[in-house]
Every structure is written in C-alpha cells, then in structure tokens.
C-alpha cells in the first residue's frame, strides 16, 4: 500500500498520462477484436494420428526451430485440443515424443513477463521483467540466434505480434525496456536476421509518415533494402520471394490473424523455404538455420479471459508447429522444440455445462502466473529436453547441441 504522503505525487503522475492514454485507448481496444469469426475453426484440421512422432537416432543437427506459444499453459493446449479433436484427439504439439516442464520465474519476480522469459530462452540468463537481451546489471548477452548467426547459420523470426514485441525482440536485440520498440527495430535490421515476418511496420517508418510510431527521421525500410532485404507487405508478394533476406511487415500494428493476411503457418513454411536456401560463407554448402516462431496472441486472449479467442490462437499456433514438424520429418536433421514463455490467466478446466461437450474454462487472474509450462521436442537431440528444467536451460541445451561455446556469453 502506498504511503499517504506519496499519494499526491502518484496523482500528479496519473493526470499527466491521462491525455496520452485517451489518445491511444480506442485503437488498442479495437485491435484485438478485428473482423474475426472466432467460432469458425474450419481453418484447422486436427491430426488423424495421435501417436507420438518417431524418435530420431541421427545425431547431426542442421536446423533448429523453436516454437513459443505466448501465455500457453497446459490448460490452453488441452482446451484447444478438446475443441479440435475431442477428448481422445491430439494437437500436433501434443504428439512430441519428448516432453518436459519449464520453470519460468524471472530475476525479480515469481511471475515473469515475456521480456524476461524471452531473454531467458534466448540468452540463458534470468533478467528483470521488462528487460530485453540484457542482465539485471544491463550487461548485454549474446542470444542463441546471434550465436547461430556467428556460427554461419541462417536465422529467422516469425510472429503474429509486432516484430518488435518482447519475445522476438529478445532473440535479436538488447534494450533495458521492452517499450523501446523503435530501438529494437533498428537492432533487428542491424543484426541481419535473414527472415523477419510479423507486424509493426510503424516502427520502421520515418516520423514524417503519418503511420509512423518513430520519433526520428530514420527510414528503416529504406535502410533494410540497402542492406539487401526484400521488403514485402502482402501474401501475394511473399510467394515470389527468392532473396536470402526478407523483411515482411504485414500490418502497421500487430497482425489481425485473419485473411487476407498470410497465416502463421504459411509464414513459417515460407521462412523455412527461404532459410534452407541461404548459402554459407564458403560457398554452396547450406549452413543450416535457427528459426523462432511465436504464437503471440494466445497471451492476449488469455489476458481478456476469452476462451474462444484462446482456442483459435492456440490452433493457429499449432498449425505453425505442424508446418515445422512436416519439414523436420522430411529433413531428418531438424530439431523442433515447442514451449511457452509463461502461462496467462491461471486457466483451469472444469466439467462444464450439461448441454455442452466442452469443458468449462475457469480463469483465476487476468495476469500471468508462475506455474511451469510444458515443453515438447522432436528430432535429433530432442531427448535433452525431457524432465523439469529452467527456461534458461533451453538455449544452453541448443548451444551444446550446435557446438556453440561458451554460452551464455556477455557481449563486450
């Protein structure tokens, strides 16, 4: 409880932000409820088979695909699974042959946010909530994406939020506040990530553009083009891409996750197609790739305690996992990991009403929770993800499997 003597200061601060809030409130509220037919789940085809995917004996790992469901706990997965395939059905992510649990607490809280959790899964260190790619001391740490790139691998980030949002930012930028999205955009381009797919075009436009959210004249799209990126904003242009560097920004803000936008699954397939064709430094040999795919909006649905949107977003994410798995099964040298950064909503499943076959969704909070989240893996090296682990163990294990050392590693 705040001291009474502090209250006037707090009040003054609140009054100062009221005007800004009034300006931004309406678009923010409307953003999530874009023209989506939330009951129409015909886009999703539940797997016919329910058996786990086969364990792979090969030891050579060429590619790593890390799939993160933001806010996706066990109940979110189960709720979507029952809706899609009934009690005996399985989502694609439920067919992982290796499963485990992940502890998610951050350096300064039992309950993490996506910035600290993303940083943990990217750098192998725990940091404070709100910080991106840096330790609590503000020391920057190399991310697993940057380490893979330094090793010569191709890299990619595919999300349904702005590409500058906390989770993707954690893999290729270093800032002390997740709110610094313009600075994050600068670093994503400077980092030379091969594939950047998501929303957030407004952070790449100069302030002279009426849609810009930047406070400077930097035209990051022009800078990206100069650096060799092909820039796309629509699905039809995406299909003809032949470049090794692609910047795909399909909305000014977050994606709507509805047509005519490309789906997270189709963006994942396209990212894999681009990344597997990137040539290594020494010529033709393909160097392998690291790709992070995030179902960003599961978290947003759960913050609103909205089970229908949570189911829809989880199934959209599972479609993307299916795209990664399809490639991994064909390729034989790709490790696929599916996990979450934290659970949102404190969701539990109850018996439900007598008239419905669906379970009742019971929410205990509108915030995040500190409950462990599931992890599943398939492909070479998958076995190391079995059991209970810290979120910081995930990039450490990936680094070990790829022969990257030392890791974690501070950036000088």
């Amino acid at each position: 409880m705040v001291n009474r003597s502090d209250a006037p200061t707090v009040a003054a601060t609140a009054v100062l932000i009221v005007t800004l809030v009034l300006v931004s409130l309406v678009p923010a509220a409307e953003q999530f409820s874009a023209q989506i037919k939330v009951d129409d789940l015909s886009f999703y085809q539940a797997p016919i088979a329910t058996a786990p995917y086969p364990l792979v004996n090969t030891k050579e790992i060429r590619n790593v695909i890390l799939c993160i469901g933001d806010g996706m706990g066990l109940s979110q997965i189960t709720l979507a699974s029952i809706k899609a395939g009934g009690l005996s059905g399985r989502l694609c992510m439920e067919r992982m042959p290796v499963t485990g649990l992940v502890r998610t607490y951050s350096a300064n809280s039992r309950v993490t946010d996506s910035a600290a959790a993303g940083t943990a899964m990217a750098t192998g260190i725990k940091t404070n909530n709100g910080m991106i790619g840096v330790a609590p001391s503000e020391q920057a740490y190399q991310t697993i994406l940057e380490a893979a790139k330094a090793k010569g691998m191709a890299t990619g980030l595919v999300v349904t939020s702005t590409i500058t949002h906390a989770t993707p930012a954690s893999f290729a930028s270093h800032v002390t506040s997740r709110a610094s999205e313009a600075a994050i955009a600068d670093q994503l381009i400077a980092n030379g990530v091969n594939v950047l797919f998501g929303g957030g075009r407004k952070y790449f436009l100069p302030k002279s553009d009426p849609n810009s959210a930047r406070k400077d004249d930097k035209d990051l799209i022009a800078e990206a083009r100069q650096a060799g990126y092909t820039y796309v904003t629509a699905d039809r242009k995406l299909r003809s891409i032949r470049s090794s560097h692609v910047l795909g920004l399909f909305q000014f803000d977050a994606l709507t996750t509805a047509p005519p936008e490309p789906s997270l699954a189709s963006l994942t397939r396209k990212a894999i197609q681009v990344l597997r064709k990137v040539k290594g430094r020494s010529g033709n040999r393909r160097p392998g790739f690291f790709l992070m795919v995030e179902g960003s909006q599961i978290d947003w649905a759960c913050h609103q305690n909205d089970p229908k949107h949570a189911i829809r977003q989880t199934l959209l994410f599972d479609q993307a996992v299916q795209a990664a798995v399809d490639f991994a099964l064909r390729d034989g040298h790709t490790l696929v990991i599916v996990t979450a950064d934290h659970e949102t909503g404190g969701l539990t499943l109850l018996e439900g009403s007598k008239t419905s076959a669906e379970p009742g969704a019971n929410w205990s909070t509108k915030g995040h929770t500190g409950t462990p989240v599931p992890i599943g893996a398939m492909g070479p090296g998958a076995a190391v993800f079995a059991g209970l682990q810290e979120n910081t163990d995930i990039p450490k294990k990936i680094a070990r499997l790829l022969g990257i050392a030392p890791f974690p590693r501070p950036i000088e």
Binding site: T13, Q31, K366, G367
Partner: protein
C-alpha cells in the same frame, strides 16, 4: 457534483486486485506487482468503470469514475 474519469495504465503481467464495479480509495493498490507500487495504486477515490487490455503495450487500461 461532477463525475470525472481517471485513466491508469498498469503492467498486465501481474494479477489485478480490482474488478469493474469495485469502489476504490485513494492510494489503494491495483495489482500485485511486488517490486514497485508506482502507478499501481489509485490516485483518487472512485468506482472502477472499465478495464481493458492493451496488447501493444501489454498493459491494463483502468478507468476510474471519480466524483469531484
């Protein structure tokens, strides 16, 4: 007596301790954020009129109707 609206933004990571319709006192805590109480307490007494989630900034936007 006039009614005004006070709008607060609170980090959405943490559990809210208020809901729509709650009557709050000045200085009352709005969320269970441990490390800081700044901007997590009400600047004025009133009734919680609405709570909306802002996904871009990952914050709850809380509107308090205050009588002046």
């Amino acid at each position: 007596m006039r009614t005004e609206e006070t709008i607060l933004r609170v980090d959405a990571t943490y559990n809210l301790t208020v809901k729509v319709g709650d009557r709050v006192r000045r200085g009352e805590r709005l969320s269970q954020k441990r490390e800081s109480t700044a901007l997590s307490v009400t600047p004025a007494a009133g009734v919680i009129k609405s709570i909306q989630f802002d996904p871009e900034h990952h914050e709850f936007v809380i509107v308090i109707a205050t009588a002046t």
